[in-house]
């Protein structure tokens, strides 16, 4: 088992990035209503922004996100455009219908949910844990992108921060462990 783990670590180190995270699919439902809860919401109508603080938590179908703070950004007409979560972000998805759809948990410093493109991008110390269907695994990287329509996830090695270029112009490495 140890040899297998070492082998996977070596293979993981050789995987070019960005790459699809091996068999990782979060249970998602982009067509479900999005529900957000918080102790306090401050809505600044003039700039189309709502700040959530205090036990900020959102759910959309089988997927939930919790974080220290969240910001909902809206268009001038009031349509929600994106949701930015910061501080101890935890993304949880319940088991999906497929054989590989186990329980997934992703931790990160920041998450950006583009409600128009239906993508969820986690960045900063990303860790993904997978349990279910007889297998468990852990992955880490600088960022993770989830297609909220298909649930497919890609873990990326290089830091993806707005306005910032990866070091040396090259992406970093993702790390994958399977048990």
């Amino acid at each position: 088992m140890t040899r297998l783990a070492i082998l996977w670590l070596l293979l993981g180190a050789l995987i070019p990035v960005p790459s699809p995270a091996q068999g990782v699919r979060f249970a998602t439902d982009a067509s479900a209503p999005l529900s957000a809860k918080a102790d306090k919401i401050i809505w600044q109508q003039a700039i189309g922004r709502a700040d959530f603080s205090g036990a900020a938590h959102i759910t959309q179908g089988p997927l939930s996100i919790q974080a220290d703070t969240m910001q909902l950004l809206m268009s001038p007409s009031g349509v929600a455009q994106s949701l930015v979560s910061q501080g101890q972000v935890v993304v949880l998805s319940s088991p999906g219908p497929g054989p590989q759809d186990g329980v997934h948990r992703a931790d990160a410093d920041r998450a950006h949910y583009d409600l128009i493109a239906n993508t969820l991008l986690l960045s900063g110390n990303v860790q993904v844990r997978q349990n279910g269907a007889g297998k468990a695994g852990k992955m880490s990287g600088a960022s993770l992108q989830i297609d909220m329509q298909t649930g497919l996830a890609r873990i990326l090695g290089a830091p993806v921060l707005s306005g910032e270029t990866p070091k040396n112009g090259k992406p970093g490495r993702a790390r994958i462990e399977l048990e």
Binding site: I41, I42, L72, V79
Partner: protein
């Protein structure tokens, strides 16, 4: 001691003349964006006139119609009754207010309904109670059981729960404090439910 018919008629005529202006200014200023800067509309001299004019009288089924002074929107307000309770307090029951859109399209139309409204002319405050419903022409609505307004500051406070519905979704909160001048709304213990993008109305 009962008034003689002539005195009573004069009082009723005076009330009919003044109550519409008083009630209208206070109610319209209460609603989001209607006339938050009430100080410019209701000057101190006029306020004193109104305060001294209503001699403890009541009027049933009043109907008030006219134009808003700030943007020319027309209004129609009805109530089951209007009563002056004290020196500067007016109480309206079963209030219904309709305001048309601004002629230049800069301000939308809206309606307001409430079981009761108490207006304090001196303090420039108003309090609505019971089944408060505000709907605007953009499809947004607000429901509450209690709503207090500081008309001079343009601040609203709903201490007993509030529900807002917009084309994008629904927001429920335990309390709302709103500054209509800066357009900042603070909700406590809030839950927002966004409709899926495809279902949001234009």
């Amino acid at each position: 001691m009962a008034d003689n018919p002539e005195t009573h008629s004069r009082r009723v005529a005076r009330l009919r003349k003044l109550l519409p202006a008083l009630a209208l200014v206070a109610c319209l200023a209460l609603v989001f964006g209607a006339a938050p800067d009430i100080g410019q509309i209701l000057g101190s001299k006029r306020s004193d006139q109104l305060r001294n004019a209503l001699g403890g009288l009541a009027i049933s089924d009043p109907v008030f119609e006219g134009n808003l002074s700030d943007d020319g929107r027309t209004y129609r307000m009805t109530a089951k009754s209007g009563t002056r309770n004290s020196d500067a307090r007016i109480e309206l029951k079963t209030l219904s207010l309709n305001v048309s859109p601004a002629p230049n399209g800069t301000r939308q139309s809206f309606t307001l309904n409430a079981d009761r409204a108490e207006l304090d002319v001196g303090k420039q405050t108003a309090q609505f109670q019971g089944n408060i419903e505000i709907d605007d022409s953009l499809g947004a609505s607000l429901s509450a059981q209690s709503l207090t307004a500081d008309l001079a500051q343009g601040v609203l406070y709903a201490p007993q729960g509030i529900t807002m519905q917009t084309p994008s979704g629904t927001l429920e909160a335990r309390t709302l404090r709103a500054d209509t001048k800066s357009q900042i709304y603070v909700f406590e213990k809030a839950q927002l439910r966004l409709a899926p993008q495809g279902e949001a109305k234009p």
